[in-house]
């Protein structure tokens, strides 16, 4: 037995790297092939579809291969307000989510550092919203803020709201819903970063007579920047493509449609695949530009 093992081991050791390479290939290929087939080629499909022309037969939902770059011009001119709105909503909601989440992450990571029970409870509470469908949660806000709800009636009674004021269907309601849904996505990466913050650095700041706010600005905040960046990406990207919150059946109204709503309507309802694809390609291109700026900062090994 030992001899057989020895005999087979010696040549294997000599060609070490190539064997390692073969094992690595065996481990990598199935998954990477899967992603190539069901992630990369769909993106290619999307680009091809975005350039298709209406079928010569005139049938609805049928398109022929083409190079109709006009589809992009049409998409941009037709849906400029929605594109602009998506971008503004995403920026605004991301900034608000950051402002709300940072103190929470700070409290859990720094202030609760020596109290494992409190920390465990708080972390569970942060992820708790993930465990109940975000559609149900968003719909709950719709009920809570609906026109005859307690909230709206109280606002009317104390005079903040006029008799015909409402919340659901406004830009405010949509941004509110987006911020609510993405607070956990912002909190967790910042928490993960602040959890590793070396408190002796903060102490050093105060030992050198820096005020607490100066210590925060000069030490804590810069050190937590990687957490802020990943939280921002994790929030901004999904928001930019979301269409549930802004849907009329949820918190949106006739004038709150975002890019996601446009893609959904064009792809799934009126079967205008080229326009839907053109918008998706542009959204993807924007995100890729944003992300590659991030990659250039930190390299690919930190991505995962």
């Amino acid at each position: 037995m030992a001899f057989v093992a020895f005999g087979s081991q010696t040549p294997a050791k000599e060609q070490g790297p190539s064997k390692t390479g073969r094992v690595a290939l065996f481990l990598l290929l199935p998954g990477l092939f899967y992603l190539a087939l069901f992630f990369i080629t769909p993106l290619v499909s999307l680009i091809i579809t975005s350039l298709k022309a209406p079928s010569a037969t005139g049938a609805i939902g049928r398109y022929d291969f083409g190079l109709e770059f006009g589809n992009y011009v049409y998409a941009v001119t037709q849906y400029a307000p929605q594109i602009f709105r998506s971008f503004s909503f995403a920026v605004l909601a991301t900034v608000l989510a950051l402002a709300i989440s940072y103190p929470i992450a700070y409290f859990i990571a720094v202030k609760s550092r020596n109290r494992p029970l409190l920390k465990g409870i708080l972390l569970t509470l942060v992820v708790a919203p993930f465990f109940i469908s975000f559609l149900l949660r968003t719909f709950a806000w719709k009920q809570i803020f609906s026109n005859d709800s307690l909230v709206v009636n109280v606002l009317k009674d104390i005079g903040i709201f006029g008799a015909d004021s409402y919340i659901i269907g406004t830009n405010f309601a949509v941004v509110f819903g987006l911020v609510y849904n993405f607070i956990p996505f912002m909190t967790l990466p910042i928490y993960a970063n602040l959890d590793r913050l070396d408190l002796s650095l903060v102490e050093a700041g105060s030992d050198l007579y820096a005020s607490p706010s100066k210590t925060f600005r000069k030490i804590t905040l810069p050190l937590s920047l990687p957490g802020i960046i990943s939280g921002t990406l994790l929030t901004f990207i999904p928001i930019s493509g979301d269409y549930v919150v802004a849907s009329r059946d949820f918190l949106g109204g006739p004038d709150t449609a975002m890019i996601g709503n446009v893609v959904e309507a064009n792809f799934l309802r009126i079967q205008d695949y080229p326009t839907a694809s053109a918008i998706s390609v542009m959204l993807m291109a924007t995100i890729v530009v944003l992300v590659s700026a991030y990659v250039r900062r930190s390299g690919t090994d930190d991505l995962l």
Partner: protein
Amino acid sequence: MTRFSLGKYLLPTYVFLTFLFLMVPIGYTFVFSFNDSIKSNIIWRGFTLDNWLNVCDQADVCGAFGNSLLVAVTATAVSTVLGTMIAIALVRYRFKFRSATNLLLFLPLATPEVVMGAGLAAQFLDFGWTKGLTTVIIAHVMFTLSFVVVTVKARVATLDPALEEAGRDLYASPMQVFWKITFPLLLPGILSAAMLAFALSFDDFIITQFNSGSVDTFPKFVYTAAARGIPPEANVVGSFVFIVAIAIVIAVQVRSALKKRKLLSK
């Protein structure tokens, strides 16, 4: 002095209020699962256990829930196996195209769901595939795979290669080394990756809507029902899943806390 007391009370108060805010819609969904509603579940009409006891009176809710479970279990199984293999390769082996691999794994995490959903749907159209449960499962494996890789990779990185080396020195075959040493040590990471994949798959709506055709999953049912009012049975399913998930999280935390205590007392 004022600053001190501000710092002491302001932050905890803020955190408390924000958590309260986070819990409002969850509480609302839970409370209205007990509503004795007739047609729409908007106005509180009185307490009943009927929705909980007879969830499947709303056959659509039950069927959609079943589909969601089937999709999540299948997709989780496939993506956990594929993702674990990739994670091991990334940490343990040197190979060319490493940064291309990293990028390919990262891109799905950075792509808006609507783009992945529409892209896959466009491809299924080009292939002439009929959308249904299979296409939903294909889509879910795709978007959960990278999450599995990230989670398992973190665990592989903490493994001491010396343990596997010791196995090899004692003439264990590569298979024996993997199943007797590597796999058991990786198991906690693999399990948490599987839980994450399951949760992501179960709750997914956007990619599902683009690739499910006429098949309903639970989130898709809720979305479609929202136009005419969501039945309380949907609140029951949502609350039930929530309670189970929270119970699992608490159990895991208690278990690891007990383990830590045992280690300390030794």
